[in-house]
């Protein structure tokens, strides 16, 4: 189920402004890859091009190739909506649907796409909630509103919602930055479990988190304001933190900037 991502020559634009330039990298299946870099370096933009969320913003465009196994996601006859069903995303601020209960939130990905009768749904909701380590906390109140949970629980609800549609890849855009350290730990443990089934890419501002959680790390940087973001270095996590090959990477990791 988990798939491999190959990015080559990727550039993304907001109108006439080039936000990221000529990005090429590979993400192996069943691994966790972290994107790190200073604010504004384009790491979230790169993430959003992977599931074609970037083009939801009006006036944007993308050049280059993103291959999911052997399918070019930006090919001429590819449906972006179908791409987003295959590549799920979890956002920085938890965003459960306010008009829906916990159960309905998890089932939303399936229900809103018109699939599945009631019988299948119960089992799938339980499986997804177990998968995101939330089942024991909410099993008695599945019909309560999704917004009534704590921040960490809401984020795990959003993760359950994302995995309920059985994606091949899970993208996480700074999923812990709005959470307290205990919830953060819970989510990091969850990521370690999830990587057995999904390919995961996580954008994070927190270098220590990248060091804890990821197998490979990619460092992005911008040359100056108004310049496009570029991929400086991508390598196995232990190696990039202990012995980076680029000067800029070492400066960022040791805290000389960013």
């Amino acid at each position: 189920m988990a798939k491999r991502i190959d990015v080559s020559g990727l550039s993304a634009y907001y109108g006439a402004v080039r936000a990221i330039e000529d990005i090429s990298l590979t993400v192996e299946p069943r691994t966790v890859t972290a994107f790190i870099g200073p604010s504004g370096c384009g790491k979230s933009t790169v993430l959003r091009t992977l599931n074609r969320m970037h083009e939801v913003i009006p006036g944007t465009r993308v050049e280059g190739k993103v291959m999911l196994d052997d399918v070019d996601l930006y090919g001429a006859n590819i449906d972006p909506v179908a791409v987003r069903r295959t590549i799920g995303m979890v956002f920085q601020r938890p965003n459960p649907f306010p008009t829906m209960s916990i159960y309905e939130n998890v089932a939303a990905g399936l229900r809103l796409n018109g699939k599945r009768g009631k019988g299948d749904l119960d089992g799938l909701v339980e499986q997804s909630l177990r998968g995101s380590n939330l089942w024991n906390e909410v099993k008695d109140r599945l019909n309560k509103p999704g917004m009534g949970l704590s921040g960490g629980q809401q984020q795990r609800l959003c993760i359950a919602r994302a995995i309920a549609v059985s994606p091949d890849v899970l993208l996480m855009d700074e999923p812990c930055s709005a959470l307290d350290p205990i919830s953060t730990l819970a989510i990091e443990d969850l990521i370690a479990q999830l990587k057995n089934e999904y390919t995961i890419v996580i954008v994070t501002h927190n270098m220590q988190q990248a060091a804890r959680v990821s197998d490979r790390t990619a460092f992005f940087n911008i040359a100056g304001t108004g310049e496009p973001g570029k991929l400086i270095e991508i390598d196995d996590t232990p190696r990039i933190f202990a012995n980076p090959s680029q000067r800029a990477t070492e400066d960022y990791i040791t805290g000389r900037f960013g």
Binding site: V81, R84, F91, P98, T99, L112, N113, K144, P145
Partner: protein, 289 residues
């Protein structure tokens, strides 16, 4: 300078401002309270079950037996038809403006909707008179009034729905798109339910505005004392029109009827408001209750 010292000048300014605000509030409330008081006290005389269930058919002006049933029915039907036409139309326009519209067409639509907001109701009535009745040859009917009321309700309904849809957080739309849900389904299953309480309130504001519009009704429903439940043919009664015609009369029984009808109209609007709040409360995102 001590931390506990508050300058007396600042204290004085604070008091003056507070008093001015309180006076302004009272001045603003006075007309509201006095209107309610006047209508209730003068309308109570003729307001009874008989009034609400009988029409003016064969009732002379001095006779105290007549009622406003034909007018109430007429207004409910006219406003009802206008609402049934306006609500889906306004929602569609608002959805277009917020979710799809970019550039020239959307700007033009917003501009014209704003212009229509200020349209005098008599102009709307005259338009329907010349187009529907004189131009297409139809006769005075409740439906003709409904067309004019639709024109008057549409801009309010569009603008308020638009504002409510804009208030829905973009994060919710993103969450839905990221699940691989199509844009249209996102709008109908996520955005609209979230904005629903606000949209309902906006629609009710629109309905409350048109319920009391007299000018277009004056031009378009014709004259009748009898009950006509068919809004598509023949003249039909109307509450604002009834108030107008009865209160122009010099006979006291007729004037009393006019006041009672005014009281009925106010109660009607209050009921509509209550229903709107109930709907909004029932449909509210569960955590907000």
């Amino acid at each position: 300078m001590s931390l506990t010292h508050t300058s007396p000048v600042r204290k004085a300014k604070n008091s003056v401002a507070w008093v001015l605000v309180a006076i302004a509030f009272v001045v603003a409330i006075i007309p509201l309270v006095s209107i309610l008081w006047t209508v209730i006290s003068r309308g109570a005389a003729a307001f009874n079950a008989n009034f609400l269930t009988h029409s003016m058919r064969n009732v002379s002006e001095q006779d105290a037996n007549g009622g406003a049933y034909h007018a109430i029915l007429g207004t409910l039907e006219q406003v009802g038809i206008a609402a049934v036409i306006t609500i889906p139309l306004a929602l569609m326009v608002a959805i277009y403006l917020v979710e799809y519209g970019r550039g020239r067409l959307a700007q033009a639509v917003t501009f014209f909707v704003d212009v229509m907001m200020g349209l005098p109701s008599i102009v709307a009535g005259l338009f329907v008179l010349s187009f529907w009745i004189l131009g297409l040859g139809f006769h005075a009917s409740g439906f003709a009034a409904s067309i004019a009321l639709t024109i008057l309700m549409l801009p309010i309904a569009v603008r308020s729905s638009e504002e409510m849809l804009k208030l829905v957080s973009p994060a919710l739309r993103e969450a839905s798109y990221a699940l691989g849900v199509s844009k249209w389904r996102t709008i109908t299953k996520v955005v609209l339910p979230t904005a629903l309480p606000g949209i309902v309130t906006g629609m009710m504001l629109g309905i409350a505005r048109i319920v009391g519009e007299t000018a277009p009704v004056l031009l378009l429903v014709g004259v009748t004392d009898s009950i006509n439940a068919n809004p598509f043919s023949n003249a039909q009664g109307s509450l604002p029109l009834f108030i107008f015609s009865e209160s122009q009369n010099s006979v006291q029984t007729a004037i009393n009827r006019g006041w009672a009808a005014a009281l009925t109209l106010i109660i009607l609007v209050m009921l509509l408001n209550l229903i709107a709040r109930l709907i909004a409360w029932w449909k509210a995102p569960a955590a907000a209750r």
